[in-house]
Amino acid sequence: MLFRELETAALEALLFVAKNPLTPELLGEILELGPLEIEELLHKLRARYAADSCGLTLLEINDGFKLGTKPEVSRFIEILYKQPSQALSNAALEVLSIIAYRQPVTRGEVDFIRGVQSDRALATLVEKGIVKEVGRKDGPGRPILYGTTEQFLLHFGLRSLEDLPNLEVGELRVTSLT
């Protein structure tokens, strides 16, 4: 087992230019390496990024890998962007939690659970790319169904939806709208 310097470099470069998280399978295909070797290279990269003088970090999301910046340096990036990362409003967080746990879900269902109109908060979430339309529900009016995005996971530092804590939601008769 040599050092595989070129492949390590290629792995880093691929993660740098990829728009979406890259799965080990795809990485293995491109680098012509087996799963164990890919794992080893990822491990090597992670170890390198562990140094305090390194600003990058390897994130795992939905079984894929992606590069991001370390949380420790986020304040500098916020200076660059000239804005502190805008926290979501409480209303948006409520809408988001309902969508996260009950997806795919319509706006009507979210409204029903919250007992109040959620259109503004929902629009904000869609605009931020945290929530997206995932289809249409069968039935009258074929309302839009919403679900969370990869951006949702990234925003909250979750590896997958399974990282969300379990909710003890009693049987909800959401269907009986109006």
């Binding site: 979501l88 209303a91 967080l93 988001l96 939690s97 996260a100 659970i113 007992g115 939601v169 009693g170």
Partner: protein, 255 residues
């Protein structure tokens, strides 16, 4: 939430909705969500809504609807039992049960929202690159679009063109006497062009009727006159051979 006042003080700004307000009141009163003292809570709810109104806060219809519902439930509790007691009782219970369920569900998601909020503030954020895919693609050679295409494929495609010209779709299925000269001229020219080594006049016939022969012949005369087609007859009564001339390609875009 807490304030020095004795009366339940409403925290500003607004609640996220009527369920939020109701849940807050229940928590302030420290009562069991399954055993809400409707009369008391209903009064507090109505007070809170009035206060919101006086403070010019947004009071949506949802607040009023729930206020009305609570007052109705309160009145049911206060009124003497109706004659059809059983029925009314069931209905009232259903209403209360539904309210409890909604409150429980709402409370659960509110807790989930708080979890997300904690996650959002605690984790410190990672930032990501906005990858400019177009810029990357500029440097990437696209795959050969001709991949898998051979001369044979090109040849077959060309044959398809010829075959279609020979079939003459629009002409073949129309009665020859309805074919305009213009259409026939185009048809004949197309086929002659596709036979640069010459084709026999007889080859032009598809149906073999007199009328077709006449229209084809007129079309041919038109093409001979314009110099787009050259005709040769090696010997008397032998087949007339047709060839495209250089001028044959000189048709305009309008054709």
């Amino acid at each position: 939430m807490e304030s020095g006042n004795t009366s339940p003080q409403i925290e500003l700004p607004a609640y996220h909705g009527p369920l939020d307000l109701l849940l807050t009141l229940i928590q302030q009163e420290k009562v069991d969500i399954y055993d809400i003292p409707i009369a008391r809570i209903a009064d507090q709810f109505v007070d809170a809504v009035r206060q919101m109104e006086s403070l010019d806060m947004e009071v949506t219809t949802e607040f009023l609807v729930l206020a009305a519902q609570l007052l109705y439930m309160k009145s049911r509790d206060l009124l003497p039992k109706p004659a059809n007691y059983e029925e009314g009782q069931v209905e009232g219970e259903d209403q209360r049960q539904e309210l409890v369920e909604r409150l429980l569900a709402y409370r659960t998601f509110k807790q989930a929202a708080q979890f997300l909020e904690a996650l959002e503030t605690s984790s410190g954020r990672s930032y990501y690159r906005e990858v400019d895919v177009d810029a990357i693609l500029v440097d990437v050679q696209p795959e050969n679009p001709l991949h898998g295409v051979s001369f044979d494929d090109l040849w077959k495609s060309f044959c398809r063109v010829i075959e279609r010209a020979e079939k003459g779709g629009e002409i073949r299925y129309v009665k020859p006497d309805e074919i305009s000269i213009d259409v026939m001229v185009a048809d004949v020219l197309r086929r002659v062009l596709l036979h640069p080594k010459g084709m026999r006049f007889n080859q032009l016939m598809r149906i073999g009727s007199r009328m077709e022969m006449v229209v084809s012949f007129l079309a041919l005369l038109e093409l001979l006159k314009s110099g787009k087609v050259r005709a040769e007859q090696p010997a008397m009564l032998s087949d007339i051979m047709l060839f495209p001339t250089k001028k044959a390609w000189e048709f305009t875009e309008e054709e």
